[in-house]
Amino acid sequence: MFDILSFIPRAIVQGVPLLLGSTGETLTEKSGNLNLGIPGVMYVGAIGGVIGAFFYEQSLPSPEAIVPALAVLIPLLCSLLGSLLMGLLYCFLTVTLRANQNVTGLALTTFGVGIGNFFGGSLIKLAGADVPSLALSATSGYFSKSLPVSSAFGKLFLSYGFLAYLAVIIALAASYILNHTRTGLHLRAVGESPSTADAAGINVNRYKYVATCTGSMIAGLGGLYYVMDYASGVWSNNGFGDRGWLAIALVIFTIWRPNVGVLSSFLFGGLYILHMYIPSGMNLAVKELYKMIPYVVTIVVLIITSMRNKRENQPPAALGLAYFREER
């Protein structure tokens, strides 16, 4: 029997990292930067939080001395700093030096995962644990704290840590900013036609930097949520899986609309874990087929939006292109 009441909350917690990742990537892409380094950025966001939490926990004389505000703020700031540095690196390479965005992005993904595994491995050694993972349950407890309501309604809507609600708020705010403010209008113009934006007096490079770095920090929060809330503070190398790529697929799925991303990310989260809920017996091959569903859905969406050929549903026209004013 398909247990919908337990499936939906699990789909949502799976969806939150995707939502943060795709909101960040959407903002980035709206500025014309195709940041394929998002998996790496999210990974660095996660390890940043872990490093912060680890050293905070280590510095405590006893587990009882933990201060809730610091337990949340230190990992949060470390995570933001890590993903901000990744965003800055990407911008410096692609905007200032005008390097190829695809190559830079892919390099950052490899780089970010490598950094994460390096520090992750080092911390595991420092902690001297006998399993290849690191448990930060004390700080993690503050990230996953939710209201103690046990009705069906509470289970569906109130059983998540604060980052989940923050993710939805960020997505809706990003959507509002993009569509209803001057900043959003300018950002869209930069992504569609940087030379037009430039001629209109918009500082193209500044918009690209700010959007990409903000996007990276939002995406990094996705990594933080994954490790501190979803994984209950347990870090193991490569545990993050392919969620970063899924977040990029989600950007296409939502046709570059963060507000659509809220429900779509939960849908993707559901599809991502669907294989655990559908009895497939011992046949592992069928399970693997179910795991493909999110990607198949993305391809279907690509086909449909391409066939509809509506201009508003296309990626930003200058996506992936470097801009140089005196080039012609």
Binding site: H180, R188, A197, A199, A200, G201, E312, Q314, E326
Partner: protein, 510 residues
């Protein structure tokens, strides 16, 4: 006495791009209440000069004063603040945004599109524009987009307007409308600079002309005191004749026979409807019509690039053998000697690869030749050098990427390559689009040489005056139908113009 003070004074302006000197110590004065025509051949630095005024480029040397005050224009925003607005040749508009959104782009303050729409309407009423603030740019015609551009600079309170070849993409009617608006603005006390190649427009519209040649300022004078011949001589640097040759066709024989050609676009719109005509060898068949009346589809059907719904296109050999072109692939049609040179609105869209150099672009036509596994790189290089020399292409060398050349030079490369393939049929569309007068005449000359060599030339043009002077016969298209075929000699501009807008013109009244 001269009661006007210069709104803009540019002094000793120099700008270089690498080894290329685009502007060399240029002086220019712009006055309010006056329309200044800025003339010069392609690559003479007109656009560069104006780009420095609008903040796109920054001058290497020289000073700019606005209303007597020396200013530094570092960015387009600085230019707006000084009341300078430029309408670029390639529109600076974001396709997926609405007219209003494009117009307020880059401004500060709270985003209030309703108030913006109000202000846009009031500007439109004041000068006689028609703009729907909520229409998306991709839904607009070229002339509507241009209107949005003009409203955009007025919205910012610009009183010094620069228009870079505004009429290059407009129909004669749209041009008249634009000129009326420009005169309105001049009478309103605005300073207007217009860059154009069309002499009759300069004479019709401008109060004063300023001339640049090879990046240097040659001189300026009131339009009334000069004429097309003198202005052309100043632009080119030596005397040129402004008459287009039209030798009698020799030994004209049917070469291409088109019967009842019907073509539909992918969206199912009828583009050509029962078109029939014969093109003769050694003859120029001019094709006139308002843009988008099927000219492109006609040439592309002959070249095999366009699926045909019904009808026939026959190629007639010298010995009278006939061959059906419909159903053949473009490659075998090209091998029969049918060459197509189509210059699209953006010039680069068809036929040339922007990032490849001149020699490689020549090779796009010839790479299949030769039996060796390796391509022959020598002859394209020679051809490139030949084209550069004969057509006087302004380029640092043949290994320069085409995208770095100015628009007119790009076109010379394209037309030069097509002509060099020694075709028996030459299909050319908008061959002189955006070209200066000197280069245009070089192209007319080349086409006439092809005609003398017995080539059947189909010449799609937008400038009716040229069509009337160059063509042996003129086929007039109107909404995809043949409105009439008239002999070029003795045809009246007015009659052809009528046939362009109405099937058969006003024959019924005659």
């Amino acid at each position: 006495m001269d009661n006007k003070t210069a709104a803009v004074k540019m002094r000793n302006i120099t700008k270089t791009f690498g080894p290329v000197v685009a502007n060399d110590k240029v002086w220019l004065d712009i006055y309010r209440g006056e329309i200044l025509a800025l003339l010069g051949e392609n690559g003479s630095g007109k656009t560069t000069l104006m780009n420095m005024l609008s903040g796109i480029y920054f001058p290497d040397e020289g000073e700019i004063t606005i209303d007597g005050k020396e200013v530094v224009i570092r960015s387009p925003k600085d230019a707006f603040d000084l009341g300078i607005g430029m309408i670029h040749q390639h529109f600076k508009l974001v396709d997926v945004l609405t007219a209003a959104e494009n117009i307020v782009l880059g401004l500060e303050g709270k985003l209030d599109l309703k108030a913006a729409a109000e202000k846009i309407r009031s500007i439109c009423d004041a000068y006689g524009f028609e703009v729907d603030p909520n229409q998306k740019i991709y839904d607009m015609s070229v002339s509507q987009k241009q209107t949005v551009e003009i409203v955009k600079v007025l919205y910012r309170g610009a009183d010094i307007l620069i228009l870079d070849e505004p009429t290059a993409v407009l129909t004669p009617q749209e041009t008249d409308k634009l000129f009326a608006v420009l005169r309105n603005m001049r009478d309103d006390g605005k300073a207007i600079v217009i860059i154009t190649h069309k002499m009759h427009e300069v004479e019709e519209l401008s109060d004063r002309v300023a001339i640049l040649r090879h990046g240097q300022f040659i001189g300026d004078m009131p339009t009334k005191k000069t004429n097309a011949q003198e202005m052309t001589n100043m632009m080119v640097g030596h005397a040129v004749t402004l008459n287009i040759d039209r030798p009698e066709p020799k030994d004209a024989r049917p070469r291409i026979e088109v019967k009842n050609l019907t073509v539909r676009s992918i969206d199912g719109i009828l583009k050509l409807d029962g078109v029939s005509f014969t093109a003769n060898s050694g003859e120029i068949l001019g094709i006139a019509g308002i843009s988008g009346c099927g000219q492109k589809e006609l040439l592309e059907s002959i070249a095999g690039l366009q699926p045909v719904e019904s009808g026939s296109i026959e190629y007639i050999e010298d010995d009278g053998r006939r061959e059906q072109l419909i159903g053949k692939d473009p490659l075998s049609i090209a091998q029969m000697g049918v060459a197509l040179s189509f210059v699209p609105e953006d010039r680069l869209g068809m036929g040339l690869v922007a990032n490849m150099d001149l020699a490689d672009n020549m090779m796009l036509r010839s790479y299949r030749r030769g039996k060796s596994f390796f391509t022959d790189r020598k002859s394209p290089k020679q051809l490139a050098e030949d084209v550069v020399r004969r057509l006087d292409v302004n380029t640092p060398g043949i290994s320069t990427p085409v995208r770095r050349l100015s628009g007119g030079n790009v076109q010379k490369v394209l037309v030069g390559r097509e002509i060099s393939s020694a075709p028996t049929v030459l299909l050319t569309a908008y061959a002189v689009r955006g070209l200066d007068i000197h280069s245009s005449y070089t192209i007319y000359d080349l086409i006439n040489k092809q005609k003398a060599a017995g080539v059947a030339v189909l010449f799609v043009g937008e400038d009716l005056d040229v069509l009337l002077e160059l063509s042996d016969r003129i086929l007039v298209l109107c909404g995809g139908k043949v409105s009439g075929i008239v002999p070029g000699r003795g045809a009246k501009k007015r009659d052809v113009g009528m046939m362009m807008t109405k099937l058969g013109g006003d024959r019924q009244h005659a």
